[in-house]
């Protein structure tokens, strides 16, 4: 009886996880930009994988294997945000164009470049004054 209840809860979790994976892939297919595609992938994929892993924990119901599944869940939940962050940083540093109509409010790299350019011009002026 209790095994049947666990199976029903696991079925709910399985379909929830599959739904979130499907939503993430639809976002990956339909959105116009690297950044927005990453935004769809990074969250929906982690949540869907986590829900399917919880469902498999309920189905297997064994201490050693539940420990391994918790380990895999924690690895996915740390690795996926790291990878998403690095992809975003790489795309930003490579100057990948954004979709039309989007803009940056606080552009860190552009402000750094502006500051570096101003410093170089100050040094040049100092050299000319020395001469």
């Amino acid at each position: 009886m209790s095994v049947l209840i666990l199976e029903y809860i696991a079925i709910v979790f399985l379909f929830g996880g599959f739904f979130f994976l499907l939503v993430g892939v639809v976002g990956l297919l339909r959105l116009p930009d690297v950044y927005t595609r990453m935004h769809a992938m990074g969250k929906c994929d982690t949540l869907g994988a986590g829900l399917i892993l919880v469902a498999l924990m309920l189905l297997i119901w064994d201490v050693t294997n539940i420990t391994k599944l918790v380990l895999i869940l924690s690895m996915i939940a740390t690795i996926n945000p790291i990878i998403t962050h690095l992809i975003a940083k790489t795309a930003y540093n490579r100057g990948t164009p954004m979709a039309e109509g989007s803009y940056l409010i606080n552009d860190y790299v552009a402000s750094q470049r502006r500051r570096r350019r101003a410093r170089v011009e100050e040094i040049k002026k100092g050299d000319e004054n020395d001469k």
Binding site: G17, G24, R37, M75, I76, A91
Partner: protein, 88 residues
């Protein structure tokens, strides 16, 4: 009943992976392909775990764990190559 549902979810994950392969083929930049391969990796890990339960051969959980770590290192190397031009 539970086996039928698990098989249907495996089929759905395979269809999702095929859609991701389309994005990896048509993506305009390299990073689109990296994102699509990341999604395919997660789907493959889920398929391995579901088959580990269906066949009751639970040692495949270790295989899935190693797969997660290997995919992480691979994606990290690709991103370092794209950012700096060399890996080591």
């Amino acid at each position: 009943m539970i086996n039928t549902i698990l098989y249907s979810i495996v089929v759905g994950l395979i269809i999702i992976s095929i859609i991701c392969i389309f994005r990896a083929y048509a993506g305009p930049t390299v990073l689109d392909r990296v994102v699509a391969m990341n999604v395919i990796t997660t789907n493959v890990v889920m398929i391995i775990l579901i088959f580990a339960y269906i066949d009751r051969s639970l040692y495949y959980i270790d295989v899935a764990f190693v797969f997660v770590l290997g995919a992480f290192i691979g994606t990290l190397c690709i991103l370092k190559l794209l950012r700096e031009g060399h890996i080591i």
